[in-house]
């Protein structure tokens, strides 16, 4: 069996026995800097806008709804089942499809609608990143197939950076099959190093921070 072959070769090369434990790995010091909420918002905004993303700061869920409506214009959209989006009243926006739990229907809608609207489990201020864990409330394709993506989340979910993320969530696999960190619109520079946005993922990304 190749498994035994490969493991045997590894052990022989390393001078280790089957079942031999490993010493503790070198410690990783996760340092969470002291950053005020306002500074986090400012950083998130600066970072994402440097990547041609957009950040809107609103004070209430109702204001979030208004912001989304404005951004949508007359475009069509699909929204995820995230409770926070319901709290913001987004499912009642015109042109928005909501309450999708069927995989095939989800895929069909994501392939044809203009905008995907999600919440986010966290955002990372020092890099302008959204963190989305897949769940019955948050499908993967909504932030991936439509050419534009809007994420609406409360400011309280804005973390300082990766260190804080892995402190808060040392075991993402425990709750979800997929955690994705999204930092700006999809891009490539594969041809002559010329930057093109929206290659496969959304070319337009807007984050609405509420609170």
């Amino acid at each position: 069996m190749s498994r035994e072959d490969v493991l045997h070769r590894v052990r022989t090369a390393l001078g280790r026995d089957a079942g031999q434990p490993a010493p503790a790995p070198p410690p990783v010091r996760l340092r969470i800097p002291e950053v005020s909420p306002e500074a986090r918002i400012a950083s998130m905004t600066a970072r994402l806008e440097a990547l041609a993303g957009r950040v809107c700061r609103v004070s209430t869920p109702a204001a979030a709804r208004a912001a989304v409506a404005e951004i949508l214009g007359d475009r069509t959209a699909i929204i995820s089942n995230a409770p926070y989006l319901k709290e913001c009243g987004l499912s009642t926006l015109p042109g928005v499809r909501s309450g999708i739990y069927d995989r095939d229907q989800l895929r069909a809608l994501c392939s044809t609608l203009d905008v995907g609207i999600t919440s986010a489990d966290y955002a990372l201020a020092d890099t302008g990143t959204l963190v989305l864990l897949s769940s019955p409330q948050e499908a993967r394709l909504i932030s991936l197939l439509p050419p534009a993506h809007i994420a609406v989340l409360p400011c309280s979910r804005l973390l300082t950076g990766l260190d804080e993320l892995f402190s808060s969530r040392p075991d993402p696999a425990a709750v979800s099959s997929s955690m994705v960190l999204i930092t700006g619109p999809s891009r490539t520079a594969d041809i002559e190093q010329i930057l093109v946005r929206g290659v496969h993922g959304p070319g337009q990304i807007t984050v609405i921070l509420v609170g």
Binding site: V6, L14, Q20, L30, L162, S177, I191, Q193, V196, V199
Partner: protein, 472 residues
């Protein structure tokens, strides 16, 4: 070195347009990296490098333990792990699974590991359609070429090259506008994503405590490859394993910065198993293929083991003055640049391309930028010794060995060394003391000829230093 190696280097050096493309592209990546690891931007850069090196060292030194832990964790989340000794076993696994599931169409995201084993070729030989979805890789697949650079595979192609490829292969109207070329690829590949039965990726990291793979990308094709089809297969070298999810706090801070000068790549996916109950989308099946393909050969020697720490950022390519002149296709295997120069002889044996470890001025720029602190120059030197040992055994290159034996003898016998020095000076002295442009045909051989083919030679001094010193 082989004729092929020499010829390929010569051809690349002679191609002015290619020289410009390689130099400019790598220059941009090099400068972008420098900007984001600068002291003012990332003050703990050196500390992170040290941590990354220690984490990789620990993982590799205890590789069997972490691979077993990884497998257990994957299976706990409903995934499957298959171990493969080589590319044939990988292809057999994929083909067998495809047959069982009635799968015909595969979409692939960029993976050097699958390039290493020619996976696409093998699958297509058996009637499957396997489509590269990373834009650069897709173009190269259409052109039947291999990648030019670990991170920027189509670095050597101009928009005109791309227009020709798209017209020829897709019968698209000729269009040299890059945005249009990208849009065309996007629409073609979108259909493939949505129709594909299987998505195949590599993995940047295998996380042992989580049973997760990590995929780092900018386009979104890896996300689509792993979220649209019902089956996801990740093919990864065994060296990709890291102990814990939190270790990513170190590696992710280094990877994108070192590769492209981004703080983070656009998409970093942490995927563990098929979709969980209730999750609306995601694959129904999650397979990780653990590949050896010779990696175990790099393990026994402690120094050389470092070669397996590589996180495939490409920083060494971008900074290497040799790579920046000879480009990716001069290298004999799929891995190019300094990392390619040290792993190729270890995977393929030193006789595969005996000149490869010598194609370096040992400037050390690669070691300086490597985020996991692989001592590349040291390994190159070690490989040079190995090449000579192999040659000695085969009775090859005896002249050079003799020359260096003579060198060592002379340098231990100062009087003889002095005489030899004076003789050499006398035999070549003539002229006005200016630098020498050419020598008589009889002398224009070997190293002298090689030197003079490119630059002038210093005139021998009237007296050596020791002669001058004695006269004081």
């Amino acid at each position: 070195m082989s004729r092929a190696f020499q010829q390929q280097i010569h051809n690349t050096l002679a191609d002015a347009r290619l020289q410009e493309a390689i130099y400019t592209a790598t220059g941009r990546l090099k400068d972008s990296r420098r900007a984001v690891i600068a002291d003012s931007v990332l003050p703990d850069y050196q500390e992170l490098r040290t941590q990354a090196n220690l984490l990789k060292q620990h993982a590799i030194d205890n590789l069997d333990y972490y691979l077993e832990q990884f497998q257990g964790s994957v299976e706990a989340h409903g995934g499957r792990v298959t171990w493969c000794k080589d590319g044939t076993e990988v292809a057999d696994f994929v083909l067998s699974l495809a047959k069982q599931r009635g799968a015909r169409l595969i979409v692939k995201s960029k993976s050097m590991t699958t390039e290493e084993i020619d996976l696409n070729e093998r699958l297509e030989h058996h009637g499957l359609e396997s489509v590269e979805t990373d834009l650069g890789e897709y173009i190269l697949q259409l052109a039947h070429e291999r990648p030019y650079h670990i991170v920027a595979p189509a670095l050597h192609k101009t928009r005109y090259d791309v227009a020709n490829i798209l017209t020829e292969r897709l019968h698209a109207p000729h269009d040299t506008i890059i945005e249009n070329q990208t849009a065309l690829a996007r629409s073609v590949l979108r259909q493939k994503f949505l129709a594909a039965d299987i998505g195949i990726t590599g993995a940047n990291f295998l996380v042992a405590d989580s049973g997760a793979i990590v995929l780092v990308e900018n386009e979104g094709n890896a996300r689509l490859t792993t979220s649209a089809p019902k089956i996801h297969i990740a093919v990864a070298g065994i060296e990709k394993v890291i102990p814990r999810a939190q270790d990513l706090a170190v590696f992710l801070k280094l990877l994108a910065r070192s590769a492209t000068g981004q703080l983070l790549s656009v998409y970093t996916s942490f995927l563990s198993g098929p979709r969980r109950p209730g999750e609306i989308d995601g694959p129904d099946e999650f397979h990780v293929v653990l590949l050896d393909n010779g990696r175990t050969r790099l393990l026994p020697n402690r120094e050389r083991r470092q070669s397996l720490y590589c996180i495939r950022c490409g920083a060494c390519l971008n900074t290497c003055p040799v790579y920046r002149k000879i480009g990716g296709h001069s290298f004999p295997w799929v891995y190019s640049g300094p990392i390619g120069a040290i792993i190729t002889p270890q995977f393929m044996g030193p006789a595969h391309e005996p000149g490869l470890p010598f194609a370096s001025s040992l400037c050390g720029a690669c070691a300086e930028v490597c985020p996991v602190k692989i001592d590349i120059p040291k390994i190159l030197l070690d490989l040079r010794s190995e090449v000579h040992k192999t040659e000695a055994q085969a009775g090859k290159n005896r002249l050079e060995k003799f020359v260096f034996r003579a060198f060592a003898w002379l340098m231990r016998h100062p009087r003889a060394y002095e005489i030899a020095g004076r003789l050499a000076a006398l035999s070549s002295s003539s002229g006005d003391g200016g630098w020498i442009r050419r020598v008589p045909a009889l002398l224009n051989v070997g190293p002298l000829r090689a030197w003079l083919s490119q630059r002038d030679l210093p005139p021998p001094p009237a007296r050596s230093f020791r002669q001058l010193w004695r006269r004081r």
